[in-house]
C-alpha cells in the first residue's frame, strides 16, 4: 500500500527551527506529505526523538487526506504504531478522514485526578494499608474482570451514557461529571456499530485497571506554580491526591481491532494511499467513517464509566482505611482527561473557523480560557490538564491556554514519553530492586508483576519536568502544581 518510507534516517539538520521550542519538517521533505510536520521540543528532546522511528511516524501522519496546518508531535513523542505517541492531526470536515489507528487500541485512555481533604502528613501512618486496600479494591491485569457484570441492555446504557451511567448506579457525584472531559459522555455513541466480540470482552471489565503503564497513584502536592489556579482547582501544598491512569480495556481494544481490520479494504475503496497500513482511514462523512466514530464514542464512554467506577472504589478504600483515624479525607474530583481520542471540534485555521476531526494519540486536550466544553466554574480559567510522569518521579497539573488553541488545536503533551524499550528496561532493572528502591524513599508499592514493574522503571522515560517546561515555554500549557508519589498501585 502506498509508497515506501524513505530509507535514509531523519536528521536534526532536516528541520527548520520555527521558534525556540518548535521544529518543522517542510512539506517537501517527502513527496507524499500533505502538510508540514512540527515537533515541540528542546534540542535534547529533539535528539531523543531521532533515536527511534517516531519522527518518521510523524511524517507518515502528514500524508492523511484532509489534514490542516501541520502534523504535530508533542515533546513526549516516542515510537508507537501508525501515529507516533504524542501525535496530533486535525482533518477538515466534511471531506477529511478519521483513522482508527490515529486513536489507538486503548480508546480514551486517560487520567483522572482526585484531591483529598487530608494532608500527606495525616495519611502517612496508614499509607501501607491504604495501598493494599487500593490494590485489593481495584482489580488489575490485562484480561482481568471486576465485580460489575453487565448484560447487553445495561452495557448499551454504559456505551451511550458513560459516567452518567455510573451516576445512576451510585458510583459518581454530580461534581464528578461536571469535571470530566465531555462531562463524562461522548456524544454520537451508537452501540449498533459495536461488535458482539467487543461486548464479550468488555462486559466484566468496568472498574478494572488493566496492566502495562496503567496505574493508581497516591501523590503529595509538592509545589504550586500558580496559586490562584491551584486554589480554584482545590489543590494545596502538602495535600494528598490520587491519580488514575487507564482506559477502555478489552472493549476498546476490540473496537479498534474491528475497524482497523475492516478499513484495510475500505481504504482501497476510497482510493487512499498511505505509507503504513496502521494509518488506514475513511472519509469522516462516509458510512464506514461514521460507523467507526460512533463505535469509538461507545468505547470512550466505556472508559469514562471505568475510571468513574475506579474513583468510587478509591473513595471506598479511603473510607475503609482512614475512617475514625483521620478527621476529613473525602476526595473531590479535580478533572478527568482523555489522551487517545478523535473529536469533532471547531478551531480557527488561517483566519477561518472550521469544523475539524482532531486526532490525539498520546496527547491531551488543553482548551484555553473561555473555550466551549469547559465546566462553568472553570470556564474563565481554562481546562485542567493532567500530565502523569514516570513511576517514582513527578506529575504535573497544567491548565490550557490561548496559545494551545492558536498553535495545536487545543492540545498539549500527555506524559514523560518512553526512551527505553520494555525489553531493555527489564534487562537493566530488576522489579524487586526497583520496588525496594521506591520503598526506601517512602513510596508504598503494590504490583501484580515484578517484570511489569521493571518495564515502567523511571529510567525508561524522559524527564517529565523537561517535557512540561517545553510546553509551558511554547505557550501550549501553563503549570499549576507538581505532584510526587507516595504510593503506587500497578497491574
Amino acid at each position: 500500500m502506498g509508497k515506501p518510507a524513505p530509507s535514509r534516517a531523519i536528521a536534526k539538520s532536516d528541520f527548520r527551527r520555527v521558534s525556540e521550542q518548535v521544529w518543522e519538517l517542510p512539506r517537501d521533505f517527502r513527496d507524499d506529505m500533505r502538510a508540514p510536520a512540527r515537533l515541540y521540543a528542546d534540542e535534547a528532546l529533539l535528539e531523543a526523538a531521532l533515536t527511534d522511528n517516531s519522527v518518521e511516524q510523524l511524517v507518515n501522519t502528514s500524508t492523511l487526506p484532509g489534514i490542516v496546518k501541520y502534523a504535530i508531535a508533542m515533546p513526549d513523542i516516542h515510537q508507537g504504531y501508525g501515529f507516533p505517541i504524542g501525535g496530533v492531526v486535525a482533518t477538515r470536515l466534511p471531506q477529511g478522514i478519521i483513522s482508527p489507528g490515529g486513536v489507538g487500541y486503548d480508546i480514551n485512555c486517560g487520567v483522572r485526578l482526585l484531591a483529598s481533604e487530608a494532608s500527606v502528613e495525616e495519611i502517612s501512618p496508614f499509607l501501607g494499608d491504604l495501598a493494599s486496600a487500593l490494590y485489593h479494591n481495584c482489580p488489575s491485569g490485562v484480561g482481568v474482570h471486576g465485580e460489575i457484570k453487565l448484560q447487553d441492555a445495561e452495557l448499551d446504557k454504559v456505551l451511550v451514557e458513560g459516567a452518567r451511567w455510573a451516576r445512576r448506579r451510585g458510583l459518581a457525584r454530580d461534581e464528578d461529571l461536571e469535571h470530566t472531559e465531555e462531562f463524562g459522555a461522548m456524544p454520537g455513541a451508537d452501540p449498533e456499530y459495536v461488535s458482539h466480540r467487543a461486548r464479550e470482552r468488555g462486559r466484566g471489565q468496568i472498574g478494572t485497571l488493566g496492566a502495562g503503564n496503567h496505574f493508581i497513584e497516591v501523590d503529595a502536592v509538592t509545589a504550586v506554580y500558580d496559586e490562584t489556579a491551584a486554589e480554584r482547582l482545590g489543590l494545596l501544598p502538602g495535600q494528598a491526591v490520587v491519580q488514575i491512569h487507564c482506559g477502555s480495556r478489552g472493549f476498546g481494544h476490540q473496537v479498534c481491532e474491528d475497524y482497523v481490520a475492516r478499513f484495510q479494504k475500505t481504504v482501497h475503496d476510497y482510493g487512499i494511499e498511505l505509507p503504513d497500513r496502521e494509518l488506514v482511514c475513511a472519509p469522516f462523512e462516509s458510512e464506514e467513517g461514521q460507523q467507526y466514530f460512533r463505535a469509538m464514542a461507545c468505547a470512550a464512554n466505556f472508559a469514562f464509566a471505568n475510571r468513574q467506577a475506579l474513583a468510587h472504589y478509591i473513595r471506598r478504600s479511603f473510607e475503609e482505611v482512614l475512617a475514625g483515624k483521620v478527621p476529613a479525607f473525602d476526595l473531590h474530583q479535580v478533572y478527568d482527561i482523555a489522551h487517545n481520542m478523535a473529536k469533532i471540534e471547531e478551531h480557527e485555521v488561517g483566519g477561518t473557523r472550521m469544523q475539524l476531526c482532531v486526532h490525539r494519540k498520546g496527547a491531551t486536550r488543553a482548551f484555553g480560557p473561555g473555550s466551549p466544553g469547559l465546566p462553568d466554574d472553570l470556564r474563565d480559567l481554562g481546562q485542567p490538564v493532567l500530565i502523569p510522569g514516570s513511576m517514582g518521579t513527578a506529575s504535573y497539573v497544567l491548565i490550557g491556554t490561548r496559545g494551545s488553541m492558536e498553535q495545536t488545536f487545543g492540545s498539549t503533551c500527555h506524559g514523560a514519553g518512553r526512551v527505553w524499550s520494555r525489553t531493555r528496561a527489564k534487562k537493566t532493572v530488576r522489579g524487586q530492586d526497583l520496588r525496594q528502591e521506591l520503598e526506601s524513599r517512602g513510596i508504598a508499592v503494590r504490583a501484580g508483576s515484578m517484570p511489569g514493574l521493571a518495564e515502567e522503571a523511571p529510567q525508561a522515560y524522559k524527564d517529565v519536568s523537561r517535557v512540561v517546561d517545553v510546553v509551558e515555554r511554547a505557550g501550549i500549557g501553563k503549570k499549576v502544581a507538581r505532584l510526587e508519589p507516595i504510593a503506587v498501585v500497578k497491574g
Partner: protein, 137 residues
Amino acid sequence: MAGDLGFREVEHTADRAFTVRGRNLAELFAHAAHALCAIQGQPAGTQQTVRREVEVSGVDRETLLVNWLNEILYLQDVHRESYSGFEVIAISDTSLRASLRGEPSASSRRTIKAVTFHGLEIERLSDAWEATIVVDV
C-alpha cells in the same frame, strides 16, 4: 532466528515487536502464534487440556496474519485460557483453519492489548517466509 519457536524479539520503544520466520505460510503463522504467547510469558510446554478449532479470514496475507493473532488474544480473553499448541491445518492467502491447544488460566496476566498492522509485510525469502509484527502492550 531463535530455535524451535522461529522468532526473535526486536527493539520497540513503547510496545513489543518480533520477527518471525517459517518454511511455509502455515509454519510462519504457527510460529507467530508461539511468539505471541511466549512474549506474554506463557510457557511453551503447558498442559494441553483444551482444544479449540478456529477459522479466520482476511483480505490479504497480512490481514489474515493480524486477524489470526487477534483471534488468539480474543479467545484467551473471553475463555480465560492460555494456548501453547498451534496447528495450521489449511491456509490460503485469505483464510485459514487451525486448532489451538492449551489450558484454563484462572489468573489472567495477559499483557498484549492487540496486534497491529504497523509496517507489516509478509516477505518471501529464498528459503522461507518472514514478517515483523508490532503488538500494543
